[in-house]
Assembly symmetry: C2
DNA sequence: GTCTATAAATGGATAGAC
DNA sequence: GTCTATCCATTTATAGAC
């Protein structure tokens, strides 16, 4: 086990630190997470942590950066496949709910920023903004693809904002009730109504019929 | 000025401390707010703060309690007036957006809990839960009144959840873009569609017409 | 009720041997 | 790259005069 090359032990330790830090920071927030807590959680001494990341801010930035790349890699391509709006919308919703379920850390980490914002490192603020911007861009492209909105960017923006706000609101709710899931049923109805309200043609979607399998409604 | 009775100076100081603490905690979060910061902000020494509240937790609990009573007092009665659904819905949305605009602290304080949750005082956790429960109950009663849902509690629950998630998601967005407002236009369309989807009669509401004055759309 | 002063603990961060 | 030991600032909280 100790046969592994030095740099392997290094990156392993780095990842272990990031794992512990991400877990603690997403649960307690940035300010409430101390280096000694991270040290205790991953088993490495504080000086190793400082050797890898330089400062507490450095850890936060690295945690955010990894969370962002992992989440974006997990998100489906923004070019949603499907013959008509109904198919693409269902695919989109299932994938969003899935990513939301599998990556509960994301939003919590972003919210952890609330405790840094004003004062702390410009690097952390920039990284948070990058994270958030990437999500917004993805959502805009995805709904644009679902509803064929290449020539109606304002509508795409509105639908994307609406989707993201529902998702982050649900993340807040999960704060209190851990087993809260993203309710894609109502979201589906809402998105279709918004599209229709803006005169977007939604061929193949019968008004507000029962959602197909894989869509979450409550009871 | 120093003529005021002792207990007046007392409650005044108490309020001043609460003002400063609420401001700081909603901006930086619970963990990142120190007693000395509060002391510097309100001008009273730390020992006075401890005399009034006993502990840091005690301050947080008091801040939450006051925020809750203030917000609930500011919310319109859950019995929304209006002749038909359209009127009541518009009244409801305007009032919600108004309260949302005037009390930007609420959600941030609730999220500050994330930094306490596990370990800290049961009192703080209980107070946060009370805050949140009061909001949920109010929203359920209000939408129930708007759409006359006394005999469809599940539908009222769904609409209330949906409304609150949109609102808290918007609060999160405001985290990044301070001048974000609650977009009642899309929310109106969504709520009407959801009601219709559940077969709730919405007399006097033409499909998805242009929203009346006072309803916020973007550009 | 308010102040000064301080105790006791913990936080972030570094030094230097290995 | 990892470890032990440590510096220094800040934190929560208290003591006791006024």
């Amino acid at each position: 086990m100790t046969q592994a090359p030095a740099h392997h032990r290094g990156t392993r330790s780095r990842d272990a630190i990031l794992d512990s830090a991400a877990d603690l920071m997403s649960r307690h927030g940035y300010a409430a997470t101390s280096i000694s807590m991270v040290s205790a959680a991953c088993g490495l001494p504080v000086s190793s942590i400082y050797w890898h990341f330089g400062s507490k801010d450095g850890i936060y930035v690295a945690v955010l950066e990894r969370a962002r790349t992992v989440l974006l890699a997990a998100l489906p391509p923004a070019d949603v496949p499907g013959a008509d709006v109904a198919q693409r919308l269902d695919t989109f919703l299932v994938e969003v709910a899935d990513a939301f379920q599998r990556h509960p850390h994301g939003v919590k980490l972003l919210l952890g920023l609330g405790t840094v914002q004003q004062d702390a490192s410009a690097a952390a603020v920039a990284e948070v903004r990058r994270y958030r911007d990437a999500l917004v861009a993805w959502a805009r492209d995805a709904v644009s693809s679902v509803f064929s909105l290449r020539d109606r960017p304002e509508v795409a923006d509105e639908l994307a904002r609406f989707t993201l706000r529902t998702a982050s609101g649900t993340a807040v709710a999960r704060w209190f009730e851990p087993d809260t899931v993203l309710e894609t049923g109502p979201l589906r109805v809402a998105l279709l109504a918004l599209a229709a309200h803006h005169g977007v043609p939604v061929r193949g979607v019968p008004g507000g019929d029962a959602p197909p399998r894989g869509i979450t409604t409550r009871e």
